[in-house]
Structure formats: structure tokens, C-alpha cells
Symmetry: C2
């Protein structure tokens, strides 16, 4: 994997770059649609690509449980299994183990949890296993197992979780570089944790910088904290990361978040919101998200967003999409998912153009 900063804005820390992976080149800053289970919900891979998505995110935890990494490896890897030949980033599953799984039990070695399926079978994630699973998936960018503390936990607890996370990340990198003969093809990022505490974020960033990951993620944000805390931590942490490596702000992807955080020098974003909002009848619009079921759209023959060039806006009216949504037709979700992804793709393209012109 190779990252090149093509342009550092004169106006802010924003930069425009190129991230070269085995499955193609990504223009940064970039928004990554989420395909948790190996599908960007509601869309064929062709429709995802047509919206200009350059890379998608998928999830180790979910795919490990169902359908299993062995099957995906036998299918030739996740790209082939899901029929997506552009880059894939896989999340480590740390966040899911700590937020979704039942009866999780953490030790120095790793984390045990019970599956929500198969009668609650017990599983254990270790930093090494999570690398191995992602190797089976064949993602272009892997994430290491981390401990995801609640941002409202006591600082002492967050600090202890952070130190365990850093130990796990070192183990993941050691395992990746020793056993993985393939690290020209796959890349491992580090994840900076430390909650809302700047000293912990600094400790985390300094430790991980020394380990020389292929890129650096900012984790533990977008977990319910106030927006001002998100922005403060993102800005503070981004400035601590090596300028020549991509920076990825995990789980952040609302339009206003992207507009705010790109100037901090963040290169990569992901969020389930654009696709999830679509499934809740909500589409992005210049003045904020709008619900298509609003009665004012009942006879509105204009597109979702007049200036939008997405397939949904070029071919269908608000009245039609509202009619579909009211009848719970799947096509309503398909069209609003297309629109929401395209909306963020266009927003990022516009931000990139502005960076290249020193406008932001």
C-alpha cells in the first residue's frame, strides 16, 4: 500500500492524497460506505460503484460469525464472495464485541464472547486471530483488535483499556509482519484510542507512531459524545499522527462531520448512517436530512435534491419515492441509499477540489 499526499492545503491541515492498494487507487479524502455483512445494504455492487464509491468497509466480527471466514476464504476472499473488485477495509470487530456481543470477558490475551447465533457458542478474539481472520477475508486494509471503552467511563478505566489496546496492537503488528508474507498486498492500520482525554490520545499516538503502521485510525469517537468533543479529539489527535500516512476517523460520516473534519487533515471516513437513514426514509439535502414521508412531498414532482446528479434524482420525483416509502417498497430504500451515498461522494469530491485550490 502506498500513500501520497498530493497537496497540503495552505488554509488548513486538509490534504488531498492518493492511496494505492492492490484493488485500485483511492483519491482522498474519501468516504467509505459500510457493507457490514459483505453487502452495502440494498445495493448491487455495481450500483455502489456507480455512485463513485472507491472503497467500502466490511466487518470482521459479523463475517466471522456468519457465514464464517473459512467459507469466504474458500470462495476466494471477500472481494470475490461479494463481487466487489475495488478496495475493502475490514474493521477488527473490537467495537462490535464490546457493543453487541453478549457475556464478553476480557483478559490480557484477548476477549471471549458469546455468539448471538448458534445457541450462544463461545468464541475468543485475540489480536493474532483477528489478523488471521482478516487475512482470510483478504481485505486491503485491516484493523487491529482494540478495547472500546465507553467515553463516559472513569479516566483510570479508559487508560487501562488503552494500555491493553496498545499491547494488542503491537501483537497484531508483530503477527502481521512475521506470519504475513502478504503485506505488500494487505495493510494494517493502528487505532488511536484514549477517549476524550488529550493526554491519553497523545500517549496512544506516540506509541503507535513508533510502530510504523501503514495508516492510523482515530477510534472511540462517534459513540454518543457531543459534537464539540468529537471535533476537539479528532483535531487534536490528527495533528499527532505522521503526515505521510493516511488518517482514518472511524464511524464518522454525516455531511456536517465531513465538512468539519476534513480540514483537520483526516483522509478517510466511514459511517453506517447514510445507508441506515435511507432505510428510515431519510435523504440528505443541503439543509440537513429530510424525511420523505413528510406530507409536503406528497405531490412534489421535483427530485430529492434539485442539484444532485445521482440516479434517483435524475429519474424519480419526491412524490414517487414518497409513494414507494409509504407502501414500504424496497425500491424506496434502494433509491435513497443511492442518493445518500452519492451525496457524500459528491461532497468529498468537492472538498478535494477545494483542497487542491487552497479554498479550505
Amino acid at each position: 500500500m502506498k500513500f501520497t499526499v498530493l497537496k497540503q492545503s495552505k488554509k488548513s491541515s486538509a490534504r488531498a492524497g492518493l492511496l494505492e492498494t492492490a484493488h485500485g487507487v483511492i483519491e482522498t479524502p474519501v468516504f467509505m460506505p459500510v457493507g457490514t455483512l459483505g453487502t452495502v445494504k440494498a445495493l448491487t455492487p455495481e450500483l455502489v460503484a456507480e455512485q463513485g464509491a472507491q472503497i467500502i468497509l466490511s466487518n470482521t466480527y459479523h463475517l466471522f460469525l456468519r457465514p464464517g471466514a473459512d467459507l469466504i476464504a474458500r470462495a476466494g476472499g471477500l472481494h470475490k464472495f461479494m463481487h466487489w473488485d475495488k478496495p475493502i477495509l475490514t474493521d477488527s470487530g473490537g467495537f462490535q464485541v464490546f457493543s453487541l456481543a453478549k457475556l464478553r470477558q476480557i483478559s490480557q490475551d484477548g476477549v471471549e464472547f458469546r455468539s448471538p447465533f448458534d445457541g450462544g457458542a463461545k468464541h475468543k478474539f485475540t489480536p493474532e486471530l483477528v489478523v488471521d481472520i482478516q487475512r482470510q477475508l483478504g481485505s486491503d486494509i485491516m484493523m487491529p483488535l482494540d478495547v472500546c471503552s465507553s467515553h463516559t467511563a472513569a479516566k483510570k478505566k479508559i487508560a487501562a483499556d488503552l494500555r491493553l489496546t496498545l499491547d494488542w496492537e503491537k501483537r497484531a503488528l508483530d503477527h502481521f509482519t512475521s506470519a504475513e508474507r502478504n503485506h505488500q498486498v494487505q495493510a494494517l492500520f493502528g487505532i488511536v484510542q484514549g477517549g476524550l482525554h488529550e493526554d491519553l490520545r497523545r500517549e496512544s499516538a506516540e506509541y503507535l507512531r513508533a510502530l510504523d503502521f501503514a495508516g492510523y485510525a482515530i477510534g472511540g469517537v462517534s459513540v454518543g459524545e457531543p459534537a464539540e468533543d468529537l471535533y476537539r479529539v479528532a483535531q487534536y489527535t490528527a495533528a499527532l499522527l505522521p503526515p505521510d500516512k493516511p488518517r482514518y476517523l472511524m464511524g464518522v460520516g454525516l455531511p456536517q462531520n465531513l465538512l468539519q473534519c476534513v480540514p483537520f487533515g483526516i483522509d478517510m471516513f466511514d459511517a453506517v448512517l447514510p445507508t441506515r437513514l435511507a432505510r428510515h426514509n431519510t435523504f440528505f439535502a443541503p439543509d440537513g436530512p429530510e424525511n420523505i414521508l413528510n406530507a409536503k412531498y406528497a405531490a412534489d414532482l421535483t427530485p430529492l435534491v434539485e442539484s444532485c446528479d445521482c440516479y434517483a434524482c435524475r429519474n424519480f420525483s419526491r412524490a414517487y419515492i414518497r409513494h414507494l416509502a409509504q407502501a414500504k417498497e424496497i425500491l424506496a430504500i434502494v433509491l435513497m441509499t443511492i442518493h445518500n451515498i452519492r451525496y457524500l461522494v459528491n461532497l468529498m469530491r468537492d472538498l478535494r477540489r477545494k483542497i487542491l485550490n487552497d479554498e479550505i
Copy 2:
């Protein structure tokens, strides 16, 4: 509308034809996917067309209730509203009024019913209004309002319903030809009713033949009767219809039904089953419909149907689609809908080729 029989098979009553409409030429025999509410469920119109669908069916009753024919007319008609530029046939709503609507009350003039929406507002369909609604929708082929008796009703009741239906059909045609200056563009079919009784079917067919509709449908089948009755009535009735007009067997569309009824000289079919089965995890296969959730598909990396050329079969495995279906991912429905439609399109193309070669 113009219908040409290109070839009458020497082996059966099957024929291959061309049906020319304002929105394109249809090769018959043809299967018409159903888009009840102005969407073939789960697919973009482009995906419907890519499967080779030449014409779709939509529903007057449903569209009248929601979003309303006035709105669709203001949008420029149903083709434009739903972004589908190939032919559309609209069902009259007769079947729906009698099977879905509450508190229907039938009179010589028409049928009153309560909407399932809007606090049960009262509506009345007359033969004339149903033509007017379909004129607003702008469908290529309209159907007249009919009384849909239960096939298990007493013969006396079925006969009375039939005579009312014939009166309504004459009124529909009178209204269509007198008020409709547009009948070069839109066409009105007649519907033969009469339950499972051959003498009533004959009476119906003879009455309607004299009225010179643009085509003739066989209604009141595929409503729970045994397959042998369906085939008997379809074959008996088809033989009573004018050879130079298209014949449409309403609501029939399982693969075995198509194979059986094309040799009777039926030219057009529709059914919700291919799309409905897909939403119930079921795909068409050579030995009959199969459920993708079957455990035997869990690690099966072959396509749904090895010989199928559909998008789903070219790009995805049973294991992947089963994984999606198990996780209730929308893409599972999308892929199986694509497959099921394509399966019937291919089956009809194959039958047409066989007719042209006197093989069936």
C-alpha cells in the same frame, strides 16, 4: 396496437407473434412481471429491463388508492412517474376490489368499496371510471372492470356475475371508443369470465368477440382451483377466442403453467409469484422452486442455477445469497427477484424458439 401472428405451430395451438404498442414491440408469448404499485418489487426499472422483461403489469386499484391517478397524470403518466419506457398493462382493479377491499357493495352501475387507508373512505368503481383512471395512468393496455366470482360459488351466481361483467365490459368499450380519442395509443382488452363452466365461458367469449376488443383475457383462473381445472378452462377458452387477437391468461406464471398453457395458444401471462417467491427466499430451478435457506446451500459456491445467464447467477454463489437471506439483507431479495424474472424470460424465449421450429 397491432398484433401479428408470425407463426402458428404445426404441433399445437401455440403461436409466436409480435404485439406492437406505443411503447415498443413485444415478442409473444410473453411473461409480464408484476409491478402492482408502480414498481416491480425490489428492482430498479433498468434491472427489470436488463432481465429481458418486455412489458410489465401494474394495478389500477392500488394506484388509484395510493398515490392517486391525478398525481400520476400530473407526473406525465405512469411510464414517466415510475421511469419505465416500455409497455405497461394495467389491471382493472376488479379482482382487487373483490378480493382485498372491505365492505364492497355491488350494483348494476358499479361497485362501492372502502379504502384500507384514509379511515376507510368510500369509493365507487364504474366501468367508465376505471377506463378514465387507466387513461390517466396512460397504460398501453387497459383492462375493463369485471366481477370476480369465487370459483366455488353456485353456477347460478357465477352466471349472474358473468352477465353483469359482460354488461360492464360493453360499457367500458363504449366509453373507451366514444370518449377516448387516444385509442390508437391505448388499447382495451376484454376479459372472459364464467368460472370453471364451459358453457358460461363460451357465452362470455362469444359475446366479447362480437364487441371487437383489441385483445382477450381469460380471467377468473389461478384463484385456488386445481391445476387440471386451470388447464381445462384455459385450453377450452383459448380455442374460442379470435386467432388474430392476443390472448392473455391472467395471474398465471409458474414455469410449469407456462409450459402447459403456451401450447393452448396463450400469448401473454402475468403473475406476482416470481417476485413474491424471491421475497420468500425461493428461486426457480429446473426441478422446481428451491429455498435458498436450505442448509445444503450453506457452503455451496455454485450459482443458483448453473445454466442460468442472469446477473445473480453470473456473479454470486448460493452460499453468498444464502448468507444474505439468513441476515435478511435486501440484496438477497434483489438477486432472487432478478433470477426468477430472468428464468421466466428465458423460458418464454425458449418456447418461442420452439414454436418457430414447430417443436411444441
